[in-house]
């Protein structure tokens, strides 16, 4: 598990006249937790949307190297990125299936695998044993995740009835049920209290360690970012202004300027 997993090169995204991302390049190492930070409106979520196929970038290349294959995510449609390149994501404003149960949410995430096992539904309709076995496995996997996020006893409740923090965790678990190599988390700690965000830190570190999933996250909560990231990319106005380890980024004058504004005396460039 080493080397570059995700390589973003010269990514540019324009909406009409507005350039949301301007010639951005960065890479994420396999087995690392990479964070993208930056002030509001810096283009972080747009980067995510480009990586996960919700936007088609105006220019640039997004390469994902998995096993020995390389996928150009900029040229793939959203669902293919999840099913073929195995990049999963969560959303800033949680997107669960609120009227389905917690367990069903996790089963739907294993759709493609189950679809094959059900022989594109035909074998499944006749209840072939191979399908039933696949479904049992899917439930076992879901149960495993529910145990890890502490929601086993809520498995049969509607996802919409969970409280906010539990919904965040469920969304992460659901993304992981797709067996990703890279998980993109869009502000996973937003709206969590201190205890919950510490729990989230532990969960994310555990995901990297035991499941071998690399993480890419957007976050405002500096406790999360500085506490767990191996590598940080700082964006401002769609451009990369810094790139490095948490300590290096923390000390970078450009970052301080972006967050705190221009000091009165112009610093030497």
């Amino acid at each position: 598990m080493n080397g570059v997993l995700l390589d973003v090169a010269n990514l540019t995204m324009r909406f009409g006249g507005l350039t949301a991302i301007d010639d951005l390049s960065f890479s994420a190492q396999a087995g690392h937790i990479t964070a993208i930070i930056g002030p509001n409106g810096a283009g972080k979520t747009t980067v995510f949307n480009c990586i996960t196929g919700f936007y088609k970038p105006t220019l640039g290349r997004i390469a994902l190297a998995r096993d020995s294959a390389t996928f150009d995510l900029a040229q793939m449609s959203g669902h293919k990125i999840a099913s073929a390149a195995h990049v999963a994501r969560t959303f800033q404003n949680i997107r669960l299936f609120p009227r389905m149960t917690v367990l069903e949410n996790l089963i739907v995430a294993q759709h493609n695998k189950l679809m094959c096992a059900s022989g594109y539904t035909i074998a499944g309709l006749f209840g072939l044993p191979s399908y039933r076995k696949a479904e049992r496995n899917a439930v076992a996997k879901a149960r495993g995740w529910l145990e890890r996020i502490g929601l086993v006893d809520r498995a049969d409740d509607e996802a919409g009835t969970l409280h906010y923090g539990a919904q965040r965790k469920l969304e992460i678990a659901r993304a992981l049920c797709t067996d990703p190599v890279l998980l993109c988390l869009d502000e996973p700690a937003a709206g969590l209290n201190a205890r919950e965000s510490a729990e989230l830190n532990r969960l994310l570190l555990d995901i990297r360690a035991t499941d071998g999933v690399s993480l890419l996250l957007i976050e405002h909560d500096m406790n999360v970012v500085m506490g767990i990231s191996d590598h940080i990319v700082v964006l401002d106005y769609g451009k990369r202004i810094a790139n490095g380890t948490p300590d290096a980024v923390r000390a970078d004058p450009a970052v301080i300027r972006a967050y705190l504004g221009e000091p009165d005396a112009v610093e030497s460039a």
Binding site: F15, T45, N49, F54, F91
Partner: protein, 304 residues
């Protein structure tokens, strides 16, 4: 050639009517993001009110045509606006924030309700009135064929263009227009800035209804026949016009209206009159598939 010219004149007239209805679709879509399915019915109600008002004026002995047309226009606009307001208040406002399909289903319910409401109250038979605005200006006369533009066609097109200009000014220049555009962008923010969102939405529905009423009066004058079912077809065609022009765009609605009107006129003239509706529906489907943002619309960026 003469025939082509005549069809162009007819198509533009028809297109003006579709354009007026299409503006209602476009404005409502812009502000609440839903297709007001009952809008065709609002137009039908406008036409019925026109028939009733013309008959009433006839019985009262108002025979000077300009006065009669003006009175009927104002009456139809006023009462139809009340219908526009009520439809929004009853069927749509309680559903803001409900699930995705709810307002659409409610709108279909409203459309069915209004159709049957008018049918029950006014009867299912076709209502026809005597021609009121008559006469025409001959343009070209060849041996066997005469190209003419009738006064009513002139009235329809000029009135439509005048209304179009005044409503564009209303949207771009006035306080209401500013509020309207603000609500289109972001209702929560508009409310925080002290705009009465409910009122703005109500006003939008009323304006749509007023323009539909004008279309209803014009159609009554043009064809002289009205029944409770005319809203359905006109509604789909006007919607096709709104989509073709780019939904959310006022000039687009007008342009789309004229184009649909022309297509219909040419199609009936050169191909077959039976298939003219199929031609319109095909345009609607093709535009939605290949250029969902229409001719003048902004592309729709999916918010994630």
């Amino acid at each position: 050639m003469e025939y082509f010219l005549q069809q162009t004149i007819n198509g533009i007239t028809l297109g003006a009517v579709y354009g007026l209805i299409a503006i209602g679709y476009t404005m409502v879509y812009g502000i609440v993001g839903m297709i007001n399915f009952a809008h065709g019915e609002i137009y039908m109600i406008g036409a019925f009110i026109a028939v009733i008002a013309f008959t009433l004026l006839g019985m009262m002995g108002v025979t000077w045509v300009p006065a009669a047309v003006l009175i009927v226009l104002v009456t139809a606009m006023l009462f139809t606006a009340a219908y526009g307001w009520a439809v929004e208040r009853i069927a749509y406002r309680p559903l803001r924030g409900s699930f995705r399909l709810a307002p659409l289903i409610s709108a279909i319910g409203m459309s069915i309700f209004l159709q049957n409401y008018v049918q029950l109250l006014q009867g299912a038979r076709v209502k026809s009135i005597q021609p009121i605005v008559t006469g025409a200006i001959p343009l070209i006369e060849t041996g066997h064929f005469q190209v003419a533009v009738t006064y009513i066609q002139i009235l329809i097109v000029t009135l439509t263009i005048a209304l179009m200009i005044s409503f564009s000014l209303l949207i771009t220049r006035t306080r209401f227009g500013r509020a309207q555009r603000a609500c289109e962008q972001d209702q929560t923010m508009a409310a925080l800035l002290g705009i009465d969102v409910d009122r703005t939405i109500s006003m939008t529905f009323m304006i749509g209804a007023i323009l539909a009423a004008v279309a209803g009066v014009m159609v009554t004058l043009y064809y002289g026949v009205v029944d409770f079912f005319i809203g359905f077809q006109a509604g789909i065609k006007a919607f096709a016009a709104a989509v073709l022009g780019g939904i959310g765009s006022l000039p687009g609605a007008m342009l789309g209206g004229f184009l649909i009107g022309l297509v219909e006129a040419y199609w009936s003239a050169y191909f077959s009159i039976e298939y003219k509706d199929i031609a319109t529906f095909s345009i609607l489907i093709l535009v939605l598939i290949f250029r969902p943002s229409g001719l003048l619309g902004r592309p729709d960026v999916e918010k994630v």
